[in-house]
């Protein structure tokens, strides 16, 4: 049964093959391309399910994960090791990622219909799927980094998919460059880690001895003083997460990334790529907590908590339906990272999984709304879609309840576990921040629901909205079911009745070596209260007296606060004014230098060369050299004449003579060729006799 794990390496391969096939052969036949992509990811999905269920049935998978290695490029004493690893974390990721990919691919079949670059879209998402799947099954940090970068590339290609729109191009570039900053730190972390330990394989890096070694070793840095190496490496690696998972201060790319098609937003910027950053931290969790009371977890938790609250506040003031969800994603990622910083391994991982499902659901739902409302994305122009798009509405409700944290939906269990963990371990500030963010989350989701689905349609588009085709609504239904039910795999064991019945399989599978979070009734009650309160306030402001067409958002009454929030605290502008401006000025400076200094030098050299060559021609080449050449020519002609005469008399004579001789000899010798075999045999016999005579008589 465990041998089925050998299928693991195939999981990223099928989408890669689909990518190759589409790019090389099938670009012209859209249907074939899209179905090929769907088929490939479906195969990966089946294989992943097999691996997942086998993993679930394998005891002690955490201590003895399955690994399959390939060594290549043996360079001196260290061979380069690439391989796949299956441990419980990998298994749950494999459960989630291909499932979401398959559903979103199917959704995209309908959503991207009519796009001129339909086939190319599926090629890109297939490559992306390869990247994410490869990252999840990787057994070492280098392989992870490679697939990380592949996803970065695909993200750029997909955000800027509609490259006719300059805003999309800018967004793509912004995403790429911003995550690049994070990746630079990540790479530094990898290099430093490798230099200290000589390996990048998880098995070796996360072993007890290595972690002890790194924790005890210290390095003295200019500003920070003496810091344990483990902390430095962990924080450098965390840099990658800050970029990829859009944490403050590298969060600026994610809202702009909404320029891409909605399936892209759902897949990359909700469910998979951004969770790769969190996955990295989960995977490297022992490294982060290697130093007791270390700085690394503090930094991580702080950034996570801050981001969670920070993004919430911005989300409250956004009008674009997808931007709300984008900031919501940033905020939820902050939750996960905060949890991991606080040491809540299982809670963080659990929220990662549940969030992927309901966030994907929300994005796909928003896509359905956008398509239904004829590509209108401003929520202020929507309204009353409840009656017109029933399936979208109800599934969206499911997603909202999950995100807001209303039991028994999935988000409640995972979010509550994080908050309970924070509270139980005395991190009251984190708990408070998290709770406040939970309230705001419920509020802005409620705002969104009431603005979009309730009331009267506030525009022509909303009035004529209709439900989306089945390829789009079926995935919504599937995801809604998950949003409702997935939470039950993580119900804490001390929860009355339910916990005992279900036994928290998630905890037992993924993190049984970590202590389970006991249920804190106070925290749980408060969570529910805050969630309901948030939804309630949303109802009060937006639901009781639904907005009419042209009416401004009631939040504008907050005045300055509202303006600040709506403009995202001006961070984009800040970056533009500082880093971007600086880079462009520097480039201008270098261009100036190149033009004035270097070009001048080059031109002067050119002119000097021209003068020299002219002088050489006039005074050296014409009189002297030409004279010599002509003299040589005349001498040569005289010699040739002499030689010619010699050739005629002597050489020709010899040649003719040889010819005549050959003729004569030929005439003589031809007489041997009588054509009669008997004569030939006679000659042969003579030879034999002679040879034998020599052999017997002489020797």
């Amino acid at each position: 049964m465990e041998s089925l794990f050998k299928l693991t390496w195939l999981i990223p391969v099928f989408p890669l093959l689909a990518f190759g096939a589409i790019v090389l052969y099938v670009r012209r036949w859209k249907r074939v391309a899209s179905w090929l992509a769907v088929a490939a990811i479906a195969v990966s999905f089946v294989l992943s399910q097999i691996v997942f269920w086998v993993a679930v049935g394998t005891p002690h998978l955490g201590e003895h994960p399955f690994e399959e290695l390939v060594r290549w490029l043996p360079t001196g004493h260290s061979a380069f090791e690439m391989g796949v690893m299956v441990d419980p974390l990998t298994a749950v990721m494999l459960f989630m990622v291909p499932l979401l990919c398959t559903l979103i691919f199917i959704y995209a079949l309908g959503y991207m219909e009519g796009d001129p670059r339909y086939a190319r879209f599926f090629a890109y998402v297939s490559l992306f799927a390869t990247g994410m799947l490869g990252l999840v099954v990787a057994n070492n940090l280098l392989m992870l980094f490679i697939f990380w970068e592949i996803m970065g590339l695909c993200s750029y290609l997909l955000i800027g998919f509609w490259f006719e729109k300059p805003s999309a191009m800018r967004a793509g570039l912004k995403a790429f460059l911003t995550t690049r900053v994070g990746d630079a730190f990540f790479l530094l972390g990898l290099l430093y880690l490798y230099s200290q330990t000589g390996t990048l394989a998880f098995r070796e890096v996360l072993s007890e001895e290595t972690l002890q070694h790194l924790a005890n070793l210290s390095v003295t840095l200019p500003v920070f003083g003496t810091v344990p190496v483990a902390t430095v490496i962990a924080l450098l690696i965390f840099g990658g997460t800050v970029g990829k998972s859009a944490q403050f201060p590298l969060h600026v790319w994610l809202p702009d990334a909404m320029e891409g098609p909605t399936p892209v937003s759902a897949l990359i910027h909700a469910a998979t790529m951004v969770s790769a950053g969190v996955y990295l931290v989960v995977r490297m969790f022992p490294l982060f907590h290697a130093v007791p009371h270390g700085t690394a977890p503090e930094v991580v938790a702080t950034i996570g908590a801050f981001t969670a609250l920070f993004a919430c506040t911005i989300a409250v003031a956004q009008n674009d339906i997808k931007r709300v969800l984008a900031y919501s994603t940033i905020s939820q990622l902050g939750y996960m990272i905060m949890a991991l910083g606080l040491g809540a391994y299982v809670a963080g991982a659990f929220h990662l999984i549940t969030h992927a499902f309901f966030k994907a659901l929300l994005f796909l739902g928003s896509g359905s709304v956008i398509v239904g409302a004829h590509h209108e994305q401003d929520m202020m122009e929507m309204g009353g879609l409840r009656g017109r798009m029933k399936i979208t509405f109800w599934t969206y409700i499911a997603g909202t309840l999950a995100l807001a944290g209303i039991p028994p939906f999935a988000g409640f269990w995972s979010k509550d576990e994080i908050l309970a963990d924070a509270f139980n371990h005395g991190h009251y500030l984190a708990w408070a921040v998290g709770s406040l963010a939970a309230f705001l989350t419920a509020f802005y989701m409620g705002r969104q629901i009431f603005l979009v689905f309730f009331g009267h349609p506030r525009s022509h588009h909303a009035e004529h909205a209709k439900e989306s085709p089945r390829t789009m609504t079926y995935p919504l239904l599937v995801l809604a079911a998950f949003a409702a039910l997935l939470g039950f795999v993580g119900v804490p064991e001390d929860f009355p009745i339910l916990g005992h019945l279900l036994g928290n399989p998630f905890h037992r599978f993924v993190g049984h070596e970590y202590a389970a979070t006991p249920v804190n009734p106070l925290v749980m009650g408060l969570s529910i209260l805050l969630a309901c309160a948030g939804l309630g306030v949303g109802y009060l402001i937006y639901g009781r007296k639904p907005l009419e067409e042209g009416q401004p958002d009631p939040l504008t009454r907050l005045g300055v606060v509202y303006v600040v929030l709506k403009n995202k605290y001006g961070i984009d502008e800040l970056y533009q004014a500082t880093f971007v401006w600086l880079t462009i000025r520097l480039a201008d400076l270098f261009a100036l230098f190149d033009r004035e200094v270097i070009d001048r030098i080059v031109n002067a050299v050119a002119r000097g060369t021209a003068i020299v060559s002219d002088g050489l021609f006039r005074f050296v080449d014409a009189p002297v050299i030409d004279g010599l050449v002509n003299l040589v020519g005349r001498a040569g002609a005289w010699l040739a004449d002499l030689w010619g005469r010699f050739d005629l008399r002597v050489v020709d004579g010899i040649v003719n003579g040889v010819g005549a001789a050959a003729q004569t000899f030929g005439r003589w010798f031809r007489q041997v060729q009588t054509g009669r075999v008997q004569n030939y045999i006679l000659l042969a016999s003579v030879n034999v006799v002679v040879i034998l005579a020599i052999m017997y008589l002489v020797l």
């Binding site: 031809r670 060729q673 009588t674 054509g675 009669r676 075999v677 008997q678 045999i681 006679l682 016999s685």
Partner: protein, 102 residues
């Protein structure tokens, strides 16, 4: 007891007579007969060597049998060729068949 050398000398004599037949006769069939005689003289040699130098090994006698088979095949094909030439050129004198001349 007959010395081995007697057999060998007999074989040599027959061989040379056969060789003379091959070299000096005009008629193609006569040449063929000379060749047959040469093959048979070789057989005598083989049988004699086997009898005197390696009595139990059988190699010589087996070789003789194969040699006879080959001689028979050669005679058959040779005569067929002579017949074919006779039909097309109306001669069996090898002196008149000099197509290889040159």
């Amino acid at each position: 007891m007959i010395p081995l050398t007697w057999y060998l000398v007999l074989s040599a004599v027959l061989f040379c007579i056969g060789l003379y037949g091959v070299l000096a006769r005009r008629n193609a069939i006569a040449i063929l007969m000379g060749a047959e005689l040469m093959l048979n003289s070789a057989n005598i040699n083989l049988a004699a060597f086997e009898r005197y130098l390696a009595a139990g090994s059988l190699a010589g006698q087996v070789f003789v049998i194969f040699n006879v088979a080959v001689a028979a095949a050669e005679a058959a094909v040779g005569l067929a060729l002579i017949l074919a030439i006779y039909r097309s050129r109306d001669t069996v004198s090898v002196e008149e068949v000099d197509l290889l001349k040159g």
